[in-house]
């Protein structure tokens, strides 16, 4: 039976490939893309303010609402700035770690690092966020640590900064930023380490051999060749921050983020079109970012 099937498939490559691709394509097409399309279509409807019903007529009034109400604009700007800051910080923290994993770690050390980077992902996301809230609280371990090192003035100064500061780390944007960076760091380290691992050591030697100092080798060879990994990682950290609604509602200052707004508008407020319009923002931003990265040649080395 199996033999007959394989004999039948032998030489019918196109048929074989389409047979293999059909289930995932169906899934992707109907469950994923179609529902995404329905969601996007919703954003071009508007809600009837009197009856609170969705009116199925194409209109831009929901987008007008999104971009003209100062509160909504604030939410978009706040979320995007946080996502940019988190992405940059993740890149800076992840690079040395990924570089060590890819180039200097022996087999044992490398396994240890990979497990160490992925281990936090095996724990419940909520548990980690609540743990961080306790750690960042006024009497928490982080402020105790600063205090025992005699660095309390530094922490107090950071918390007294406008906008990012607050009464404690747990109730400031600074604390939220720390939690975001912690949460998404593995998503930056792993693609970056994979990209750096593909850079042959002889390229770095060749660069040094031709007279490049370590800093020049980093700028001219390592960084350009790591760009695809950096781009992949930053898409993770950027989009995860843009879409998250749990971290901002547990840690940090009371200001709303896009994810929280989507959650609230489609749930309690019942304004599905506005929720859809809010969720279009990250999609457009990521598309713009990818186009820009491509223009800058981030994928040339692929």
């Amino acid at each position: 039976m199996l033999r007959a099937a394989s004999t039948f498939l032998h030489g019918r490559n196109a048929f074989y490939v389409s047979l293999l691709l059909l289930p995932p394509l169906l899934w992707l097409g109907t469950v994923y893309l179609a529902s995404l399309f329905v969601l996007l279509a919703q954003s071009f409807y508007a809600i009837d303010e009197f009856t609170a019903r969705v009116v199925p007529e194409l209109t831009l009034s929901t987008y007008r609402q999104l971009f003209t109400q100062p509160a909504n604009v604030d939410i978009v700007v706040r979320t995007v700035l946080m996502a940019i800051a988190v992405t940059i910080a993740c890149g800076i923290v992840a690079f040395p770690v990924a570089n060590y994993m890819a180039r200097y770690a022996g087999p044992k050390m490398k396994a240890f690092f990979y497990v160490g980077v992925m281990l936090p992902m095996w724990t419940s996301y909520l548990v980690k966020v609540y743990a961080w809230r306790l750690m960042l609280a006024k009497e928490g371990i982080v402020s105790w640590f600063f205090g025992s090192l005699g660095l309390m003035p530094v922490l107090d100064h950071a918390l007294s900064l406008p906008v990012v500061g607050g009464p404690s780390l747990a109730s400031s944007y600074l604390g939220m930023f720390v939690v975001f960076v912690y949460m998404w760091l593995p998503f930056m380290i792993l693609p970056l380490a994979a990209a750096l691992e593909r850079v042959p050591g002889s390229l770095l030697q060749a660069s040094a051999d031709l007279g490049a100092r370590p800093g020049q080798t980093f700028r001219n060879v390592v960084l350009p060749l790591a760009l695809p990994g950096l781009a992949a990682g930053s898409i993770f950290t950027f989009s995860l921050t843009l879409g998250d609604y749990i971290i901002p509602s547990i840690v940090g200052a009371p200001g709303y983020f896009i994810g929280m707004m989507v959650y609230q508008q489609q749930g309690t407020a019942g304004n599905l079109p506005l929720a859809a319009a809010f969720s279009v923002v990250p999609i457009v931003l990521i598309a713009l970012y990818l186009t820009l990265a491509r223009r800058l040649g981030a994928f040339d080395a692929l």
Partner: protein, 340 residues
């Protein structure tokens, strides 16, 4: 005259493996010098130490009389052609070649002009805008060469540069490298495991085995007067006859080497001419190579001698496989070896 490169009692171990064991030699300016040996013999370690990618555990390395043991590669006036070429995949050919000038702060227009000039030297000026992955192996090799030469190094190091090329291209590149070296007059240090390559290109060859230099000599001397059994076997694959077998064959208890082309093969019933040494054996097999044939003759329980025979029209037909034959050679053609 100051040596271009000098190694003094240089040792390097990786864990318990001794890659280089108190090696000393010096290379004259303008010399074409080959480091020859099987893999793991220490030749590549030696090259990496000269380039500065690695530091010796003991000993000193001098370039033009100056101690560079602790000088990083970017401050040494040597350049390397890597075995895998190591071309930067995100730069085009001209940018690759100009890289050495770029990191030294040469202006863009000037470095482009000199890169194109350098590409002309290796006949690749039409390929300046190509990406390395659009080039063939031989072209990549020439780009790597141009890139290494643009800084006008005193010494060019080549790590198995022809290893990845096919036979015809390899022969072309051998001639090209040799010509280039003569024109530029700079010192070439060449790592290879191919004895033919070392013999045909180098002025002098250092034969490495197990982290030490077995013999350092001109190609002709290596071939005609190998000092050790290793060199005799590795360079030109001579027959190496051990002490005991030599005693049985010739009556003299001393190991010797004899080249396959120095042995004559005759039928067993023909008498041994005066003044020749000989041995009787069984013809085991014959490998036909066109211009010549290679016969394997078992002369002792565990000794098989290879005999090269020119296949000219006048050559008498060989006796069939398995028959008894007599081998004959002039005593002067056998090279006495140092006892192991």
């Amino acid at each position: 005259m100051t040596a271009a490169i000098e190694l003094r009692d240089t040792s390097r171990a990786f864990g318990s493996v001794v890659a280089l064991d108190r090696v000393s030699f010096s290379i004259a300016p303008g010399e074409f010098f080959a480091l020859l040996g099987p893999s793991g013999s220490g030749k590549t370690t030696c090259l990496r130490l000269i380039a500065g990618f690695d530091r010796p555990d003991e000993g000193r390395i001098l370039l033009e009389g100056e101690d560079v043991t602790d000088v990083p590669p970017y401050d040494r006036n040597v350049n390397t052609v890597f075995q895998d070429y190591a071309l930067f995949p995100h730069m085009n050919v001209a940018e690759n070649v100009a890289y050495g000038l770029r990191v030294r702060g040469v202006a863009a227009a000037e470095r482009r002009r000199r890169a194109i000039e350098m590409l002309g030297l290796v006949r690749l000026d039409d390929f300046a805008e190509r990406r390395p992955n659009q080039l063939s192996g031989g072209q990549k090799q020439r780009v790597a060469l141009a890139r290494a030469l643009i800084n006008q190094p005193k010494v060019l190091l080549l790590d198995e540069p022809l290893g990845a090329l096919d036979l015809k291209l390899r022969e072309e590149m051998q001639a090209e490298l040799k010509g280039l070296q003569q024109r530029l007059g700079i010192t070439f240090v060449f790592v290879t495991h191919d004895q033919g390559e070392a013999l045909s290109m180098a002025d002098r060859v250092a034969v490495f085995s197990r982290g030490r230099i077995e013999q350092l000599d001109t190609p002709r001397a290596l071939y005609t007067r190998p000092r050790t059994a290793f060199v005799a076997g590795f360079v030109g694959s001579a027959n190496v006859v051990t002490r005991d077998v030599a005693g049985r064959l010739t009556g003299r208890h001393a190991p010797f080497a004899i080249r396959p082309e120095m042995i004559e093969i005759r039928s067993a019933d023909a008498p041994l001419p005066d003044g020749l040494l000989g041995a009787e054996g069984t013809l085991e097999d014959v490998l036909y190579h066109g211009a010549s044939s290679r016969c394997h003759v078992r002369v002792d329980a565990d000794t098989v001698l290879a005999v090269a025979r020119i296949e000219s029209a006048a050559a008498a037909p060989l006796p069939p496989r398995g028959s008894r034959v007599r081998l004959a050679w002039r005593p002067g053609d056998a090279v006495m070896l140092e006892a192991d």
